[in-house]
Amino acid sequence: MTTTTNQHTWIGKDIKRHEDPALLMGTAIYTNDVSLPGMLHAAVLRSPYAHARIVSIDTSAAKKLPGVYAVLTGREATEVIGPLPAFCAEPVVEHAIAVEKVRYAGEAVVVVAAESRYIAEDALELVQIEWESLPPVIDVLEAMKPDAPKVHENLPSNIVFEHIFTFGDVDGDFARADHIIKRRLRWPRATAAPMEPAGAVCQYDSSSGRMEVWSNTNMLNYVGWLIAGTLKLPPHMVNFHPMYTGGSFGSKHVVSKAIAIAGALSKVTGHPVKFMEDRIDNLAANDSQAPDRIYDAQLGVTNDGKFLGLRLYTIDDYGAYFVFAITGNTNMMSQISGPYTIGSVETGIKAVLTNKNQQGVFRGAGSDVGNWVLERLVDAASDELGIDGIELRRRNLIQPDQFPYKMPTGNVYDSGNYPSVLNMALQHADLDYWRQEQERARQQGRYIGIGLATCQQRSTYSATEFWFHNPAPATGLTSTPESARIGIGPAGGITVTLFSPFWGNSPETVAAQVVAEEFGVDPSEVSVTYDSTYHGLPGAGPGGSRMTVMLSGALHGAAAKIKEKMFKIAGHLLEANPDDLVLREGRVWVRGTERSLSLADIGMKAYWYKFDLPPGIESGLEGSFTYDHPYTTPPSEDRKDLGAFYPIMSHATHIPIVEVDIKTGEVKFLKYVAVHDVGTVVNPRSLQGQIHGGIAQGIGVSLFEEVRYSPEGQNLTATFNDYLLPTAPEVPNIEVYHHETPSPFTAFGVKGGGEGGRMVAPPAVTRAVEDALAPFGIRIDELPITPEKIVKWVAQAQTQSS
């Protein structure tokens, strides 16, 4: 269903995307499509060991190969590039090319620039390396032992961060609880795996000292200055060009490694250099692996099913480095108690380093895990207390009159109507029918299961979770702003400039719709482009489901600036008080009259005819606006209250219905209903697409996806033949319904929805499979639920019963 209920003209309209023609006709320029005169191609030699010291490297034969321009070891590269940017307080240093030792299989050791990628890869085969292998630390529990080999010798142990955060009277709530529901839960290491790997083309000009960078990095106007530091260049001498990006799902926030490798080789050779990860580079070494956690989880519940307190203690395998610190764990503190009136929360975090590729960000950023853990506890409570899961949730949902709602960690939920979302989902799911079907099927030896999850989907981060939950003294807070520029030309055409790139989301469509709304024009008439950092305004780009909210705010602000000037000019020309003017259908009207001017009339005057303008008005008609996060409050010194840091709170209910084949372990979807409330919907079609795609990824982590390492630390899933992504036959048709509860804090009431599908599907799908297997008494405490596991669990259950 794609209708919306809001009262706007263009916001909420189900229009085709602005972005698509270039993508469909093959003319959009992705990073790998950039080609420059004299451009060289880079390839990377990667470590075969998970943990080893580099004794010596002989690159002489590689350097002699015809067509090779440069061969760089990590140590040689330190002359032209510094360590990679890291957002952790702990001294965990990472280089784009390993220096002294490698900490995971796949870490870069030597890079080559040559006239073709073929020759560059030939050269890698001529490099001789003497290794001293070290014992690898792969199992996270082994890594925590005091005598475990250390991934980083400069740290006291592999437990890089350990802290227990307590919010509210947890001990009291657990003492008052009649039941303590306990589960040990295992969430698997997944990875973002966008179809386009990360990459960069860097062109260093030693005569000017400037570097041009074409890369699919997202945060070019936000952390570009940090990447410049890695390149050992002043930030104002590095120009990042925004690129069309073939998907990210969090994995391309920074892309610092690819930029550093291409940048180092460009500095050394004086040529532009392209480095594109191939798929194995991406799966083995992109730093986009996701939370890999063991939870001891407890929910304190009363006899009548009231949730009192929540305790979650986690061990999280962060891999070899710590680029985003504990963001994967702190992100979920924004919604850790879910949509429920849970009064207190304690969460202990042990972040552990191992010899694996490190965690980065993947859609959900840890809040996906939090939803799964919480909903597992709710389903467990339902089973143990014998209270129906829907009824149990109803008794605990925050009610519509409780907003804005301050949850235990201090974050604020802006608005919502969770019972209504649940009702809407139930209305479309027809569970009476499916329960009868389930019963009928069981009599035939077939196993149908019904799942349901009611979850939060936080959106629009502010004072980023990267560091400020850290118990160490805080740095300052950022509002993570986003900017836009609107210009109206002499012929009345509207141009919009964005300062964050296209990521696979729909920023051009959003911009066109918001500007159409503001100026009363057709969105197809709005031209949307992107600008490089030389002309850049602050912008953090997509991530944390923020882009639609932040862009709407930035465009609303920029439009207000232009309108004010337009009204002054129009009032002067129409001899009317600007307060009596209205903007409608692309014209400025004197209210209640037939007198009006078009945008072209006003644009032409503004550009060309200074002396027709009112006194004191300068020529030109453009407005730039940087929109700061609409609602941020600082954390308390003692971190007992984290403040509002992710307050634009979306919500969803998912109801999947599956059939499990107990002989093959196949899970087939019979129906999937998803109701999402992301505030005011801007484009129902693109939102629906985001939800579909997110659910497909949620099905992926539920049933198929897991990054696996051998005991020696070899990545066993470094190809798409081994890391299994859902394909067309595995993903069902999904019925998506939009429920709209506007945010009181954002422009037009928009909330973020980019991650919701992936954040909600796993607990719902898990419950559906568990429900199907209920006759066998199977309880699911781990993902992915692969066919092998299902067959094994059923066999074990049958053995036990016989």
Binding site: K16, R17, E19, D20, P21, A22, L23, L24, M25, G26, T27, A28, I29, Y30, N32, D33, S35, P66, R117, Y118, A193, P194, M195, E196, Y244, T245, G246, G247, F249, D278, R279, I280, F502, W503, G504, N505, S506, R685, S686, Q688, G689, Q690, H692, G693, G694, I695, A696, Q697, T719, F720, N721, L725, T727, A728, P729, V731, N733, I734, G757
Partner: protein
């Protein structure tokens, strides 16, 4: 690499014939993208698993694993060959209408696979479409809108012509 290691080939790509001198190991996809500048074909995995790089050789879908020399003397069609006179092919229009793409990176591969499907089966059912597309991975869309787009394209083509050909626009 000695000069005699290079091979001269003729490739007809989107109705234009090219004479090229290539190493035997050079992949067709690299020739298309780097030598001919047809960057609409994208490389997603380079090990034959994702289908992003799908192009048609004599009407049959092939991946980037094919060497250029294997296509010597054959007709290649890429995503750039779908539109005619700047007008989108009905498949492209249907993907736009049905929101069958998000980041667009896998899209050329899906378009070419779907084009091949509709050549052989002008009226495919949903399961046939899903099966035909099962060698193409999309990480963005969840496939539903892609499947809808292929069905919509089939219907549009049936209304205009029996031939799902780019010239039929």
């Amino acid at each position: 690499m000695q000069d005699e290691d290079f091979v001269t080939i003729r490739l007809t790509v989107n109705d234009v014939t090219h004479r090229l001198v290539v190493e035997p190991r050079r992949l067709l996809a690299d020739v298309l993208r780097e030598d001919l500048g047809l960057t609409g074909t994208n490389l997603g995995c380079e090990h034959g698993a994702c289908g992003s790089c799908t192009v048609l050789v004599d009407g049959q879908s092939v991946s980037c694993l094919m060497f250029a020399v294997q296509a010597n003397g054959h007709e290649v069609m890429t995503v750039e060959g779908l539109a005619r006179n700047g007008q989108m092919h009905p498949l492209q229009k249907a993907f736009w209408e049905q929101h069958g793409l998000q980041c667009g990176f896998c899209t050329p591969g899906f378009l070419m696979t779907a084009y091949e499907l509709l050549q052989h089966n002008p009226d495919p059912g949903e399961e046939e479409i899903r099966s035909a597309l099962s060698g193409n991975i999309c990480r963005c869309t969840g496939y539903q809108h892609i499947v809808n787009a292929v069905r919509a394209a089939a219907q549009a083509l049936a209304q205009t012509t029996a031939e799902p050909s780019g010239t039929a626009v």
